[in-house]
Every structure is written in structure tokens, then in C-alpha cells.
């Protein structure tokens, strides 16, 4: 266990484009940064058996999830030359077209951010106990499966 403070990565509901814009603006004082790379997960209106997904309801094993997000952050800083990194994940209801995952990495140079961002996103999908319940327009549901 690492003794640095474990942050809360979760945001209630969708992540707004204004929040993302403000997050970008905050980095303009960090003048050693030359490259940012941002991943956004957006809820898709997938069709299953003629029914269309309307929203995803996210739940998580919060304590373990935040600990895992923390471990991923520490491992990523060790592997790549990054200036900073931010991760936000939604809990609760996120409608189609809205954003549920926001990963933001910054580095002096571009080659590092591409590798780091993909690493972080794949680690999140593989190691963080978050669950998506896909709600259809008729209020029926199915449990999301990551591919």
C-alpha cells in the first residue's frame, strides 16, 4: 500500500464539457507541458434485439476502485515521463451522448502521452471494479460487458 493520499475519482452523473474545458484551462500555467492527451468515454445508443440503450447506471466498489485508480496512477508515473495526470469516472446515471470517463495526461513531449493514455485506459477497464447497467428506452436493462 502506498501512503500518498488516495483521491476520489468519482463524479455523480455525467462529466460536462465545461468541466473538461476548465480542466484544460488549469494546465496553461504549467509551461513545461508540450503535449496533452485526453480520452473521453461516451455512452453509446447501442441497439440490442431492437431495443436502444438510453442510459448507463454506474455503480462501483468505491473504496477498492479508488485504491485501484491510485495504483494505476502511481504505476503510470513510474513508467512514463508525465507532468500530470487526472482521472474522473461517473457514478449514477449517464445518458447516451454524455461522458462517463475522462482521462487526461500531460508531458513535456508527445511520444509519452500517447503510450501513457492508452495504458491508463486499458488498466482502468481491466482492474477497476466499476459496473455499468445499460438501461433501455422501455426501462428494461442488461449488464454492460467490456470488450
Amino acid at each position: 500500500m502506498n501512503d500518498k493520499k488516495i483521491k476520489n475519482v468519482f463524479i455523480e452523473g455525467a462529466i460536462s464539457s465545461e468541466f473538461i474545458g476548465r480542466s484544460i484551462a488549469k494546465h496553461q500555467t504549467k509551461t513545461s507541458i508540450g503535449a496533452h492527451n485526453i480520452f473521453l468515454g461516451q455512452v453509446r445508443a447501442d441497439e440490442v434485439d431492437e431495443k436502444t440503450i438510453y442510459a448507463i447506471e454506474y455503480t462501483a466498489y468505491k473504496d477498492m476502485a479508488n485504491a485501484k485508480f491510485h495504483d494505476i496512477r502511481e504505476a503510470t508515473f513510474k513508467k512514463f515521463d508525465l507532468t500530470c495526470m487526472h482521472i474522473y469516472h461517473s457514478l449514477g446515471t449517464v445518458k447516451v451522448g454524455e461522458i462517463c470517463l475522462f482521462v487526461f495526461v500531460s508531458s513535456p513531449r508527445r511520444k509519452q502521452v500517447f503510450k501513457a493514455l492508452e495504458y491508463v485506459v486499458e488498466e482502468i477497464k481491466a482492474k477497476v471494479p466499476v459496473y455499468g447497467k445499460e438501461i433501455f428506452e422501455d426501462a428494461s436493462h442488461q449488464w454492460k460487458v467490456n470488450s
Binding site: 468515454g41 454506474y58 455503480t59 462501483a60 466498489y61 473504496d63 477498492m64 476502485a65 485504491a67 485501484k68 469516472h89 462517463c100 470517463l101 485506459v121 482502468i124 477497464k125 481491466a126 482492474k127 477497476v128 471494479p129 466499476v130 459496473y131 455499468g132 447497467k133 449488464w143 454492460k144 460487458v145 467490456n146
Partner: protein
């Protein structure tokens, strides 16, 4: 002693709860699961891992914490 069991995702529809407390004497994960399978027979057919102290553990791990979680495949992002 009591052990607090947490269920997530699809599993909550099998157990019909997201959390329950079971009376518990020192045992392995595997022994605990036998107990839970008796209570919720359909759990047996589900794909899940067990987490203790925020880490995935194997079935022969001795349960030392008072909270344990049953985690189906993750679907974050």
C-alpha cells in the same frame, strides 16, 4: 464474529441484495463460498472474483478482514 459480504453488478440480481452479513468463523474463501452457494444457489453459475482488503484473492486465501466482495467482470469506462 460476523462477515460483511458485498455483491456488485449482475450478482445483486442473484442475491437480491447488495450487502449481507453472515456469521463467520475463521475459514478460507472457498469455505465461505460453499456457504454462500447454499444460500444463493444461482451464484454458482456466475463468473466472479473475490476481493479482500481491496485486492483480488485466490480461493484458498484465509479470510482475515471483516468485509469481502464478490466482483463480476468489470465494465467501467
Amino acid at each position: 464474529m460476523n462477515l460483511n459480504i458485498k455483491y456488485f453488478g449482475l450478482l445483486t440480481e442473484v442475491t437480491l441484495c447488495s450487502e449481507e452479513t453472515v456469521p463467520f468463523s475463521k475459514a478460507t474463501v472457498s469455505e465461505l463460498l460453499d456457504l454462500l452457494f447454499e444460500k444463493h444457489p444461482d451464484l454458482k453459475n456466475k463468473d466472479f472474483q473475490v476481493a479482500l482488503n481491496n485486492e483480488i484473492v485466490s480461493k484458498d486465501t484465509l479470510i482475515t478482514a471483516n468485509e469481502l466482495a464478490l466482483l463480476p467482470p468489470f465494465s467501467g469506462g
